[in-house]
């Protein structure tokens, strides 16, 4: 996808989103409608301008940003989403070492032993700092009875 096409897609999506937002805002009570409608209208106008200007944007044509490695991004995204969904039922002190190990092994390509060692040491450090020193509440999950 070229940068110009990408910018046009972003602008079109935001325009669609803004128009829906304006339609919804018209149902708000009293003058609570004004600000959301004005802001969504301004966003629409800016995106319309972007849509027109995108083709003339010479900077966008010259854009040489490092391409996203979608394969690695997907691995990261899946691991992060798993972290999110499993943190509460399993507990962060099970999920953190698992997440760390997976990222270090599959993205940083560390040896199994090194990845495991870093994951365990880091989890221990997080436990000491957040749980013991700062007493910050964390989802304990399966370890609830052991930790607290």
């Amino acid at each position: 996808m070229t940068p110009i096409l990408r910018d046009r897609l972003i602008a079109s999506t935001l325009i669609l989103f803004s128009l829906i937002a304006i339609w919804v805002a018209l149902g708000f009570r009293g003058d609570g409608t004004v600000f959301p409608v004005v802001m969504a209208a301004c966003l629409t106008a800016a995106c319309l301008f972007k849509l027109v200007a995108a083709g003339k944007d010479s900077d966008a044509e010259k854009e040489t940003l490092e391409a996203i490695d979608w394969h690695r991004f997907l691995i990261w995204a899946v691991l992060a989403i798993l972290f999110y969904f499993l943190a509460e039922p399993l507990g962060v002190y099970i999920v953190i070492p698992a997440f760390m190990f997976a990222v270090l092994r599959f993205l940083a390509h560390l040896k199994v032993s090194t990845a495991a060692l870093i994951a365990i040491l880091f989890t221990a450090a997080v436990f000491i700092v957040f749980e013991l020193l700062l007493e910050v509440p964390t989802p304990a999950g399966l370890l609830d009875g052991i930790i607290r």
């Binding site: 708000f28 003058d31 940003l65 943190a87 270090l104 957040f130 964390t138």
Partner: protein, 494 residues
């Protein structure tokens, strides 16, 4: 006066000094690590402050902020890889000096210049903030409306290399700021029935997502793992401190750059890198040896470093007195203040004066601390850059998740931080600046509430904004903030 003394006393306790030392060291390391910004550093530290007293929290946030700006100079000089964008100008002369075997000397000059700039900006903060807060007490809803518009206009124009992308980001932020229960009617707006959104889009998860989670993704993705190459200059060779003669020669530049940095800091949007480049160019323009700039001139390092550190105190002036964040770091700072029940604005100097003065004096001590640590151990900090980004990434992600959860003990915030992390990652890649988005998220409610109050007071008479002297002054500032960049752009085209 009592509050000033209480603030001073609060800083010189064992606990405060320990927090200062930890914050300073953490900030220096965060600043030195390329890819980790001051904004991310402060955002990452906020969760740690949840269980701390407001005084200790602000001391920690302030120490991380000022020392992370300095930390960026270490890698800029020794590796030509600025740890933060504040030190890009420093690398222009710092690295040639390091390559010529004068790395330690350049580092010494950077440390002393940063110290001078930082201390100067704290003095400016102490001198300007309290009287400005008294003026701000006279502000009505009309003035706050114009002030919020001023904040938005300046940040969009200055932060983004592509102003249209900045405008889109700002309007998206302003629109998102309307989510939640309407302050006036109590009606739900875009909450989708979720109780977690009744108070609006929670600021801290958004900030942590945009600045920390997005960086965690960026650090984890490159195949190289983000390890910096040691190319020989790393060892910081040569004499440890700049010669007395060089210091005397550069002192005028340091003072001038400190003034420039402080003024730039006060202006919303104009951040550390802009101040550094303005001062660097000014130093070159007035130098007796302009031809040496870019080839290894200590004066260039002094100009850039004193200016970028002078910005730190300046940016806190509008933040603390008016509640208007001047850049992304101070936007995060506002998040840190609000979790301790302190609403940024003039009342910080009345209702929370002792805590506010504690922060100001702690900034002074933090500058001294990083100066001392930098002079004796600065060159060793460069070794932290050997930690690969592939390892730092998941660590930052973990800190972000735990910190976000700790805020309200719910996973909704964690999900929001993750979502904003993905948004922030793509915004950075696709040149949509995150700073206007975040500042709009903060200024949006201020703008709407004060605009609606103004309208209620005046029966929807728009001339209410033009009938008050303070309001007129602010309108003139807004006009200048719009016209000046347009004129500059046309001038550069011509």
């Amino acid at each position: 006066m009592d509050a000033v003394l209480v603030g001073l006393t609060n800083v010189f306790t064992l606990q405060a000094m320990t927090v200062l030392l930890i914050g300073t060291l953490a900030g220096m390391i965060i600043g030195a690590l390329p890819g980790l910004s001051s904004t991310m550093g402060v955002a990452l530290v906020i969760p740690i402050t949840f269980s701390m007293s407001p005084e200790s929290s602000l001391i920690l946030l302030g120490a991380v902020y000022v020392s992370s700006v300095y930390g960026g100079s270490v890698t800029a000089i020794l590796l030509r890889t600025p740890g933060t964008d504040a030190s890009i100008a420093t690398a222009l002369d710092g690295y040639p000096l390091a390559a010529a075997g004068r790395g330690a000397e350049a580092l010494g000059m950077a440390t002393i210049a940063s110290l001078v700039g930082g201390v100067f900006s704290v003095v400016v903060l102490i001198a300007i903030a309290p009287p400005l807060s008294k003026v701000a007490l006279a502000f009505g809803p009309q003035e706050y409306t114009i002030l919020a518009i001023f904040g938005m206009v300046t940040i969009v124009g200055v932060v983004s290399e592509n102003p249209l992308n900045g405008i889109i980001a700002a309007f998206a932020g302003l629109f998102l700021a309307t989510v939640g229960l309407d302050n006036f009617t109590g009606g739900q707006r875009y909450t989708l029935g979720m109780r977690e959104l009744f108070d609006g889009v929670p600021l801290l998860p958004a900030l942590i997502g945009l600045f920390s989670v997005s960086q965690a993704i960026s650090l984890s993705l490159p195949r190289s793992g983000g390890i910096l190459e040691d190319d020989g200059a790393l060892a910081a060779k040569g004499r440890d401190l700049p010669a007395w003669l060089d210091l005397r020669r550069c002192f005028r530049t340091m003072m001038k750059s400190s003034v420039i940095g402080s003024i730039v800091g006060i202006l919303p949007g104009a951040g550390t890198s802009i101040a550094a480049f303005i001062s660097y160019n000014e130093a070159r323009r007035t130098s007796k040896n302009p031809e040496n700039f870019g080839k290894g001139e200590l004066e260039g390092v002094a100009a850039s470093e004193s200016a970028n550190n002078a910005v730190t105190g300046g940016t806190l002036i509008p933040t603390l007195t008016l509640g208007i964040p001047g850049n992304a770091v101070t936007a995060v700072f506002i998040g840190g203040l609000t979790i301790h029940g302190m609403i940024p604005g003039p009342k910080l100097f009345t209702d929370f004066a002792d805590v506010t003065y504690t922060l100001i004096f702690s900034l002074f001590v933090a500058n001294i601390l990083f100066g001392v640590i930098g002079l004796f151990a600065g060159k060793y900090i460069v070794h932290v850059t050997r930690v690969p980004g592939g390892i730092l990434g998941p660590m930052i992600m973990t800190f972000s998740v735990i910190g976000t959860y700790a805020l309200r003990n719910n996973m909704f915030d964690v999900g929001l931080a993750l979502a904003f992390g993905f948004i922030g990652f793509f915004m950075e890649r696709w040149r949509y600046p995150a700073a206007p988005f975040v500042i709009a998220l903060i200024l949006g409610p201020i703008l709407e509430v004060n605009f609606r109050r103004s309208m209620q007071i005046s029966n929807w008479d728009m001339t209410t904004f033009f009938t008050r002297p303070l309001s007129l002054v602010l309108i003139a500032l807004v006009a200048a903030a719009i016209i000046y960049p347009v004129m500059q752009r046309q001038k550069s085209r011509a």
